[in-house]
Every structure is written in C-alpha cells, then in structure tokens.
Amino acid sequence: AQTIHQWPVAEIKAVGSPLSLGCTIKGKSSPNLYWYWQATGGTLQQLFYSITVGQVESVVQLNLSASRPKDDQFILSTEKLLLSHSGFYLCAWSYRGDSDYTFGSGTRLLVI
C-alpha cells in the first residue's frame, strides 16, 4: 500500500531562522509530488510540483524552495523564515495521467 509521511508535525521557529520540511512517499514509483500551503483561514495554494527526481517547478513565489533528491522524497526549505510563512504545509502525490491526489497529514508552522 502507498503511504505518505510528512515531518515534522509542527514547528515554532523564529523569524530569520532556516526551515526544512520533509515528505516521503512509499509504495509508488515515480509519482508526481506537490507542496501546498494554507495560511490560517486561507485557501490552499500549490507551491511546487515535481514530476521526476531533480526537477522541481515553482507555482507560487513565497521565498521558499523545494528539492527532490530522491524519487520518493520531497523537501521544502528556506534559509530565512518570514512571519508570512506561518501556516499549514501539505505534501501530496498523484500518479501519471488523470488520477486523484493523496495528501499527507501536514506540518503546522508558526513563525514568531
């Protein structure tokens, strides 16, 4: 069975500090991977997507970056957090073709 695991579950970080969020997908070869972000009370927005290892496309500019170092791993990061980065981050995968999406449990980030 396919599983998607996000880490950490929650973070409280200071403005200006670095951030790294991770996502691992098991049981699926070469999935499409995505990062989404939701500000408190806001709409979910797609940040990045990746269709293969080493290839990441940005959808929304939020002073964040993403990388896909392995087929089953997707990393979201920044060197300097902003207050506006607070919110809820979700990783998701879909498979080739017009299939549905599956989401991880998310990471809640508070920047203070």
């Binding site: 709409t43 797609q46 997507y49 269709i51």
Partner: protein, 111 residues
C-alpha cells in the same frame, strides 16, 4: 479573479438533514476533486469526479462540465460530518499538474 467559488461559506445542519454544497469554476479543467479537511488540517479525498455522478455511502458528487459546476450532496447528516469541505479543479498536461482549490464550506452538524 477566483477560479473556484464554493457556496455556501458555512452551513449548520440538524443531525439527519441533507446538505448540498456547490462548486463553480470559471476556467477549463481536466477533472474535479472533492476533499474533506479534518479539524487538524489533513485532507481526505472524497471523490475524484471528472464528470457525471458518483456515489459513496451517504455522499453523492455530480460534475457538469459544460455548466462549470460540481456539487456534493450529503444525505442524513451526522455530527461526524462536521468539518470543511473543499473542491479543487485540476488542470493538467503531460508535464504539468495543478490543483486549484476553492475556499471551502465549513459544515457544522449539531445533535
């Protein structure tokens, strides 16, 4: 403007009542997906519905592409149905895939 509009924004039901949630989209799409967002934030996929009608237990999803709308019908609501319901349209090509979400309908089912 907003590509995906959901209505109503919020809804309160007595347990046992039915609900109809609407999703209207202003752009072309490949498919429509409905999610339930738990209070903790994680998403559960309810329906992947490119067109037509699909059923799952007490839930029914209907997507009419030419009218640019999709609906989610909840019958005989239960308190455990409370939460936020999101629709998302998918735009995809061979090398690109994007989900555009609506703002959600917050459902509260009271005993």
């Amino acid at each position: 403007g907003q590509q995906v509009q959901q209505s109503p924004a919020s809804l309160v039901l007595q347990e046992g009542e039915n609900a109809e949630l609407q999703c209207n989209f202003s752009t072309s799409l490949n498919s429509m997906q409905w999610f339930y967002q738990r209070p903790g934030g994680s998403l559960v996929s309810l329906f992947y519905n490119p067109s037509g009608t699909k059923h799952s237990g007490r839930l029914t999803s209907t997507t009419v592409i030419k009218e640019r709308r999709s609906s989610l019908h909840i019958s005989s609501s239960q308190t455990t149905d409370s939460g936020t319901y999101l629709c998302a349209l998918r735009r995809a090509s061979s090398s690109f895939s994007k989900l555009v979400f609506g703002q959600g309908t917050s459902l509260s089912v009271v005993p």
